[in-house]
Amino acid sequence: MLWYLGRRLLQVIPVFLGATLLLYALVFLRPGDPVAGLGGERGLPEAVQQQIRAQFHLDQPFFVQYLYYLKGIFTFDLGDTFTGRPVAEVVVEALPITFQLALMALAIETIFGIGFGLFAGMRKGKFFDSSVLVLSLLLIALPTFVTGLVLQIVVGVRLDWLPVTAGRDPDFISLLMPAVVLATTSFAQILRLTRTSVIENVTADFVRTARAKGLSRDKVTSRHVLRNSLIPVVTFIGVDLGNLMTGSIVVEGIFNIRGVGGTLFEAIQRGESVTIVTMSTVIVLVYIVANLLVDLLYAVLDPRIRYA
């Protein structure tokens, strides 16, 4: 198990370096001079521009800049935004909100996805199964922002059950609708995945053996069918964390939430390279770390992995 953990950690390092380099390169290649655009119509005096360039190491070659940026990440000295706020502060403010949103979405999609998927898989071909299947296709086909807008109109405006936007300091209730929206597509996918693997496991030899042992139906379902069906679902959740993070850009945009996604989106529109790179890095970092955790969970669920 320790070896497995160590090997996974070693694999993460090149991925992290590669991904951050890639992101940094993309923003670095951005045409135009970001500093010249500051200071409104008149622009900043040349001396001040020089100073800003030196401060952000913009006068250095690309690779040196990248190394400065890496150093910044590890010392949590992420520099300032062009408006003078420390980026670290922005991150610290935004992260908890996005975490809360993502965790709520994750809880909704896994609980309902696995529940419905198990139920449908155990009743393959029955009415419940077929209708849930069609419904899940529909949910996958609906883009997140469309679901968001529809819920805003119906639940927010027409029925006035939940607040239409979340605003600055969102509480649980105001994050509920955004979380549901964020969870819909993944909910449908988890449902289908669970269903497929339940159907596969129900006919597995070891399940038949478990039944032949005299185990009750509920025991067979929970200890053998469900337990084994969770393995591919956990893998999917790892990948899905990426979807949740990017989905938060859209959802936070629609519901006006000042989390990582919302901040990133604003920064893009304002052209703030430092914030874009930092926020993107935060997203990628969260994604990589979350995937590492999921891999460990995977190893707990499937003993074969630990020795592979």
Binding site: W3, R7, F206, K213, G214, N228, D302, P303, R304, Y307
Partner: protein, 581 residues
């Protein structure tokens, strides 16, 4: 058999009654006119059509049949474990006087495990990979009402594993299935099947996935164990020899019906039905036994052997010679720096005389397939040489090596994997001709037709695709493709191992005919000594990468020199049977 196993029962009030003391009057299990059908998209398929059988307490009964005969379906119906859409549509199953058809779920669950146990077929897929072995046995105890504390259960689990023949049971109980070989997993499955001391044990091909020597050990053990517990056993098997050796009553099934049933000895010595006759004649284990007994009686068994020469004349030259052939695989460990070298083939020598058959026999991991792949030029030997017609293959130019490909061709084991499913039969057979630029399109088509004739398939087969053909037919196609370039040597890597007995016999006959007709030399790779008797002139027995015995087939069978060869021979199912010539 002198093995004795000390048995302790978990619960004191339900001590096993020795077989002799049981009331012998009425059968434990009685099946009358059982009908089972499956619903498919195209209609209903009757898998079992009117089966009658009875099993008496403590008795062992075997159902024999090929795949699709309905043998497993019948067995699974007893404990209501029919797969998919399978349903009992008629007849009755009584167990201890109680009707089982139509029991509700709770009643069936109570019956399973405690009254009727199951030892399933494939040890690789029948244990849940995510639970420890001990947990999976513990479950069976709890489900069947074992009264006891956690510690008592743990002790009982270790006891059961030990009783199934696992040394160091306490430690093993804490390990996961993937840490064990097939043989040990099968023992764990036996421990599960017998955990709650059922009166009847259904053993569904319990050892068909295992090496023969392991198979024999486990079956011997199971026999002693069930005899001491007084458990009745219902064997399901495709191997007539195994069935006759392990059961007193045989039931032969074919296409969902019983074609013949009766005392094992009687069925074997005096088969009445056409199908049973063919089965008895084809079963390799029985065939080799028959040859053996003919030999012992001093009769020349020429007509029993499918035309193989007893002696290899000294004048025949060797077409393939392996000299000190070695293959070392470099294995990367799961931990950094944990490399290890694995010597798959360790300096073996053998010679294949022209027009003859040399069998490389060994159990899994013996290195026989690695050796074959080196002869085929698919693997580079680590050291040693393969000589083809006296020329060192490694020293040939690329062009010569490409030309050599035409002279040595393989036929593999898996009839489902050996043909490209996206290629029509014509394309599959034509491919080698096209690749080696033999003839034009028209002459190639004529050649494909000839080849299909040669393997006794209608020419119309060439428009078909592999998924439309049966295993035996695919294997014929694979042989036709291998013959397309008129090779001198065929490497047959377990080429008949995956086939049903009758089909296997047909393919062996075909191979013998082709050898006589075309003067082919065969390198026959197999784990099955019984088949060797039917086809090979020379045998090389491999173990752990080395050849332990290399002689003519008769010498190996009549007078094996090595303990390992003797063990292999003794492990052939049916070896102890008395069969009339």
């Amino acid at each position: 058999m002198t093995t004795t196993i000390s048995l302790t029962d978990g619960s004191t009030e339900d001590a096993p009654v020795p077989a002799e003391k049981r009331e012998d009057g009425s059968p434990l299990l009685e099946i009358r006119d059982l009908q089972i059908s499956f619903t498919t998209a195209t209609g209903t398929v009757d898998a079992v059509r009117g089966v009658d059988l009875s099993v008496y307490p403590g008795q062992s009964v075997a159902i024999v049949g090929e795949s699709g005969s309905g043998k497993s379906t019948t067995a699974h119906a007893i404990i209501d474990l029919l797969p998919g859409t399978g349903k009992v549509t008629g007849g009755s199953i009584t167990f201890g006087g109680r009707e089982l058809v139509g029991l509700n779920r709770k009643e069936t669950e109570d019956l399973r495990g405690s009254e009727i146990g199951l030892v399933p077929q494939d040890p690789m897929s029948n244990l849940n990979p995510v639970w420890r072995i001990g947990t999976q046995i513990d479950e069976a105890l709890v489900a069947n009402g074992f009264q006891g504390s956690k510690a008592e259960r743990t002790a009982r689990v270790a006891e059961l594993l030990g009783e199934a023949g696992l040394p160091d049971a306490t430690r093993r109980a804490r390990q996961y299935p993937h840490e064990f070989s097939g043989g040990i997993r099968q023992r764990a499955l036996i421990a599960i099947g017998l955990a709650s001391r059922p009166k009847l044990l259904i053993a569904d091909e319990p050892t068909s996935a295992l090496d023969v020597t392991v198979q024999k050990k486990i079956l011997d053990h199971l026999e002693v164990l069930t005899a001491e517990l007084g458990t009745a056993v219902l064997f399901i098997t495709h191997d007539l020899g195994l069935a006759a050796e392990r059961a007193e009553h045989l039931i032969v099934m074919y296409k969902g019906k019983i074609v013949e049933s009766g005392p094992a000895a009687q069925i074997l010595q005096d088969p009445q039905h056409e199908y049973t006759k063919r089965l008895v004649a084809s079963a390799p284990s029985l065939a080799s036994r028959r040859i053996q007994s003919a030999h012992e009686r001093g009769t020349e068994a020429a007509d029993l052997l499918a035309g193989h020469a007893d002696e290899v004349e000294a004048t025949v030259s060797d077409v393939v010679v392996a000299k000190d052939l070695t293959k070392v695989f470099h294995i990367r460990g799961s931990r950094p720096g944990a490399h290890s070298d694995f010597t798959a083939v360790d300096g073996i020598d053998f010679a294949l005389p022209k027009g003859h058959t040399l069998a490389l026999v060994g159990e899994s991991g013996s290195g026989k397939s690695t050796a074959a792949n080196m002869v085929l030029g698919l693997l580079e030997p680590t050291s040693g040489t393969v000589l083809f017609d006296g020329k060192d293959v490694a020293k040939m130019s690329r062009k010569e090596q490409f030309a050599l490909r035409r002279r040595v061709q393989p036929v593999f084991q898996n009839p489902y994997g050996s043909l490209d499913p996206t290629y029509s039969v014509f394309r599959s057979i034509e491919e080698p001709l096209a690749l080696h630029r033999v003839g034009d399109r028209k002459s190639r088509e004529a050649r494909v037709r000839d080849l299909l004739d040669m393997v006794s398939l209608p020419q119309a087969t060439m428009r078909r695709f592999p998924n439309e053909l049966s295993g035996g037919q695919r294997q014929r196609i694979a042989i036709a493709r291998a013959l397309a370039l008129e090779p001198e040597v065929l490497v047959l890597d377990e080429a008949v191992s995956a086939l049903d007995v009758l089909v296997q016999a047909q393919i062996l006959t075909l191979l013998n005919d082709l050898q006589a007709e075309l003067g082919l030399s065969y390198l026959f790779i197999t784990h099955d000594l019984a088949v060797v008797r039917q086809i090979a002139d020379l045998v090389a027995v491999m173990k752990d990468g080395s050849i332990v015995e290399h002689a003519t087939t008769d010498e190996v069978f009549d007078n094996p020199q090595q303990q390992y060869t003797q063990d292999l021979l003794a492990a052939i199912p049916g070896a102890s049977l008395e069969i009339g010539g």
